[in-house]
Amino acid sequence: MWEWWRKNKPLLLGGLLLLVALLWYSVNLRQQDETNFLESVVLRVTGPVQAGFDRMIGGTADVWGHYLYLVDTAEDNRHLIEVNRSLRAVLTQSDEVRLENERLRLLLDFKEAQKIATLPARVIAEDASSWFRTVMIDKGSDQGVTEGMPVVVAEGVVGRVVRSSPRFSRVLLITDASSAIASLLQDNRARGICRGQGDQMVFDFVLRREEVKVGDRVVTSGMGGVFPKGLVIGNVKSVDRQEFGLFQAIEVEPSVDFSHLEEILVLLRSPQ
């Protein structure tokens, strides 16, 4: 027995450690909606670095883009570039300001239309892993952001806050595989659950007898207790109504472009 133990000790100990880690993960699933101490520390430490890096990258990309642009054009028409350089820089800058203005105005109109108090925030970082879809924002519990709060933009639902520290929070996007939202079709009020599938979403549990067309708008039903009723999620991309079975297979195209997420709104008061 002792010999067998000595021979298999590394394997047994390794297996035991792995089992303990798995059990710990399993136990933690019950507190999945709360930010633990270590996560809070990580958010506090990485948040300022990520925010600084985000600003630095933005500035560098701007300078780099302008530099490359000028070099390329100088090869074709050096003289004209010299004459117009300052003018172009001003134009580019004003274009950027105009675009930002448009985005913020859209957000402001949306904010004014909402009856719930909102807090604007900036996206400063993405999820570190390719398997999950979360983003970090530059507002936290000091500004009133807590776990479970819905996050939106003018185009529709972005997700909900899953972790928060005093100055930074993490938002689980609706396209994440672990995200599920109680939803309904705007036209015929058919109910279902919208689940994330990476870049797309699926609309589950819609009965076969419901009439669903490509292009139909999917909105939040307000049933889950997280999102207010009537926020746009996306549009039906495809419908597969098989001959048998209770439900239809529906794909949904999110209305929000998650690859260009910059400014968002946190709905500070939960609908409940």
Binding site: L43, F53, S130, D204
Partner: protein, 178 residues
Amino acid sequence: MNRTLIYLAMAGIAVVLQTTLLPLVLPGDYKPDLLLILVIYLGLHEEPQHGVPMVYLLGCCYDGVAGSFPGLNGFLLLGIFLAVRGIVTRVNTESSPLLLMLVIAGTVLQSAMVAFALDFFSQTAHIWLLMVWQLPVQLLSNFVAAFVLLRLTVWLQRTFLPRRNLPGLRKLDRRYES
């Protein structure tokens, strides 16, 4: 203690790169998992009594910036570390292609463990379907990142610290391979 701090600093740099710079320069939502590469390196060069607590701590910290399941990354990284330790006496750890092969195997193992942990324990529906589509691109990005890091690290050591014997780096240099 110094080594632990260096590894923690490297993990910190990896996390900042993965969350801020790499999403901007790489298309889609695919980014190399630099922490996975670091853990495989640790598996090759650190003893379990030092490596296990550090890798688990790294995993738990990683939960703060990746996914929404506390304890998941600790479980994943620990599993990968132990798997590498399990084969380390049977392979030539001084071979740099081994690290690249282990990165590929580690990526497959990681995705299998994610699918197992999420599909069996959480309410996440059919994540393995999603992962099957993403895996080839993830494999490629991890492989390329490991290759670039390997060359870059050896070059940096030769250029800036030629007399220092940083743990593992000499072994990864092609000149010392048979």
